[in-house]
Symmetry: C2
Subunit: 337 residues, 2 copies
Amino acid sequence: MKKVTINSVATYAGVSKKTVSRVLNNEPNVSPATREKVLKVFKELDYTPNPIARGLARNRSFIIGCLYDNPSKSYITRVQSGALEACHKHHYNLLIHPCELRGEELIANIEHLLTTSRLDGMVLTPPFSDSQELIDFLKKKKIHFARVASAIDDAESISVRSNDEQGAYEITEHLIKLGHSNIAFIKGHPDHSATEQRFSGYQRALAEHNIAFNPKLVAEGNFSYHSGADSAKAILDLEPRPSAVFASNDYMAAAVLKLATQRQLKVPQDISIAGFDNAPIARHIWPGLTTIAQPVEEMTRQAVEQLILQIGDEQTPVYQATLEAKLITRESTAQHK
Amino acid sequence: MKKVTINSVATYAGVSKKTVSRVLNNEPNVSPATREKVLKVFKELDYTPNPIARGLARNRSFIIGCLYDNPSKSYITRVQSGALEACHKHHYNLLIHPCELRGEELIANIEHLLTTSRLDGMVLTPPFSDSQELIDFLKKKKIHFARVASAIDDAESISVRSNDEQGAYEITEHLIKLGHSNIAFIKGHPDHSATEQRFSGYQRALAEHNIAFNPKLVAEGNFSYHSGADSAKAILDLEPRPSAVFASNDYMAAAVLKLATQRQLKVPQDISIAGFDNAPIARHIWPGLTTIAQPVEEMTRQAVEQLILQIGDEQTPVYQATLEAKLITRESTAQHK
DNA sequence: CCACTATCTGACACCGGTGTCATAATGTGG
DNA sequence: CCACATTATGACACCGGTGTCAGATAGTGG
């Protein structure tokens, strides 16, 4: 059984391969009779066009690469889901490529990726969206890319972010308005720009409500549940014990909640806990976590959609947007006794 | 600035493009001097070979596709992580393609996927690994594939599974040995073969310990947290209330735990809860969930690795394996009072 | 019925690599 | 120094499509 190519179809149908190609791509200027005939041969021979050959001729792969290095699985899942939505809408596919930000091999790694499979563009998610080195490399290689949740200001490249600083401000203010003033904070991974932004939102809220910032209340996390557990221990051992904890993401907040519960503390009666991201876990546990909902899917969807537009037409204006983050109150925060 | 192709390199280096190709692929029979010269030009011109052209000539894309339709995000994450490990080891990349099992468009959808991007092979995860229709289609199209956690017996195709029935048996027996006899069960999604297997493991354990099977204790779930919440309500309202609940996965078990806690029930003192999968959430909540650890990453890793071997050499014997599932006891199950 | 335009169709080069095979250059033993 | 094996190199076809452009065919108005 021989492979069915455009040539076999052409011969079998008694037309030129160009005509077959026309039918394949729904191009005009093919008589209905011819089109019919060719379509019938497609079925008869069970022909599937070879995307690689097509890609070579058109210089397109219709594949977008998604780069990430993120301890939060749910964040990645959401990123993928947004990216896939945009991809499928435009008949693109998504190739995922987790890799480590650190290490000089990053560029080599990406170079190898590009040597292995030609990508029409790349979506950079944190912390890659903040890697100037990578951005410069992609520009040099003339690879289209879009940045998600990046803090870098670069008018030349697509960027969709949400306002982390403002979100952190709002959730901190929410705690303050509930009467809390002794509010612990757990930082995220130092490589992520969101870490600094959420931290400064926290600080701004304190400052604007005349609460002195106390560095002893700050624990170093890295967005992982595990790091949250470590930070939780440090925070719950503080004297006096803070009446509220704001963790930079929901996983770390969940770790605080777990330890607090293990220690027989009632949440939120004895201690309020707030997170960030509105990850699934925030509503899968009891009490549900008060948190900031970031439109991760939507950010990625927009970023990828714009990326695809840019690939299709280099003249497309560079899209830059900041989406809103929203406070979601659940049972884990309450009035300070 | 012109594109750098193998031709420009060849001209610039004063050799034929075939020689350049030889250097590119580390082929023998190139004099050290020539090799050196060409490598220097690579650097000078910052040449990156075009993977599409290479793919066309070699009839390879070095991309594996991963098919899934699964409500459990953590399951998918684990699948991806195992698949990526195997891919990267062999210099392959991973393209992800979630789609719906139901609907006659499935085959059309996959056909479109194959038309859009040529894949060297596909990993089928549940419920696709159990779709005879899809398997037949892929065979007809001569696409290599590997099945993960499939219940279908097909000696011709690669398959890696774990023993769900035995796992369910063991965790049910664990509950029985703790003195429980009124054990509720939440089923998974009907499209997944694991659902039936876990259910029959539950039933076998009851039978072997002379406990009458009571259909009223069985709730229909679909592996999602939400369905678990619905089932939880039905189960906790039963009279008499079961002393233990075994949910077919951890998300649904977490939903039971949440509702029980909301209703002021103490877990495990008032009711024991067991899950399946050892998803991250099982250890992120308090009390931690007793569950069955399935080696999802390892299953997928092996499946993809074998798939790649098969792609490289059609003569490779078809690999079939069943990995062991392991009982993990945490705080959510205890002796019946 | 003819001139002229609009609609089809195919020949051919091309995308950027790899495989085959012939030939050139080099090395080895007698 | 020659016969012969070995290594190095390039010419050329080929992978399976698409773009360009010229020529053929059909359609239209005078």
